[in-house]
Amino acid sequence: TQLLEQSPQFLSIQEGENLTVYCNSSSVFSSLQWYRQEPGEGPVLLVTVVTGGEVKKLKRLTFQFGDARKDSSLHITAAQPGDTGLYLCAGAPDGGSQGNLIFGKGTKLSVKP
């Protein structure tokens, strides 16, 4: 069974601080996605990374895919209260039918003003 372990599970920080969320697995993924989910809403895609070692930036968010395509990280610089939410990583199993994604349990981020 392929699993994606996310850490930390909960994170509460002050506005302006930096943070990093990790997504790890012993399995290889052909692609990995990061979603953000707010209460009462479905997850919304932030980014997809496909190539080992790939780094993508989205404003203050930096996403990295590990060289071996088994892990990923999300770094937020100068966090703002609007960044509050549940961050989920999801991987498409390598060699699989791409039919379903394996989701991590998420990191619940709270940014206090």
Binding site: G99, L101, G104
Partner: protein
């Protein structure tokens, strides 16, 4: 439509009753997915449909769960003889083509099911 639409948004039912949850995917999307999200948990894959292929039912937790997709568009997830442990948010997603490497899924807002 503009996005994935799910109904109802909330459903309260009594233990033992059957429920039907509906998902209307984005027009033109060939792939449709159902997930379950329990409190504090990530998304648990239930089932997915890709075009006219046989659905992947590998995530359905028991034979009380079933889903169909009529005409390659709207999907219904049915839970028979509901149990309290079925209480969760049921999320539907669709994508243009599940066989593309990026497999970008667009999610609905979910149906929050409460079994009393």
């Amino acid at each position: 439509g503009a996005g994935v639409s799910q109904s109802p948004s909330n459903k309260v039912t009594e233990k033992g009753k059957d429920v039907e949850l509906r998902c209307d995917p984005i027009s033109g999307h060939t792939a449709l997915y159902w997930y379950r999200q329990s409190l504090g948990q990530g998304l648990e894959f239930l089932i997915y449909f890709q075009g006219n292929s046989a659905p992947d039912k590998s995530g359905l937790p028991s034979d009380r769960f079933s889903a169909e997709r009529t005409g390659g568009s709207v999907s219904t997830l049915t839970i028979q003889r509901t149990q309290q442990e079925d209480s969760a948010v049921y999320l539907c997603a669709s994508s243009r083509d599940s066989f593309l490497a990026k497999n970008i899924q667009y999610f609905g807002a979910g149906t929050r099911l409460s079994v009393l």
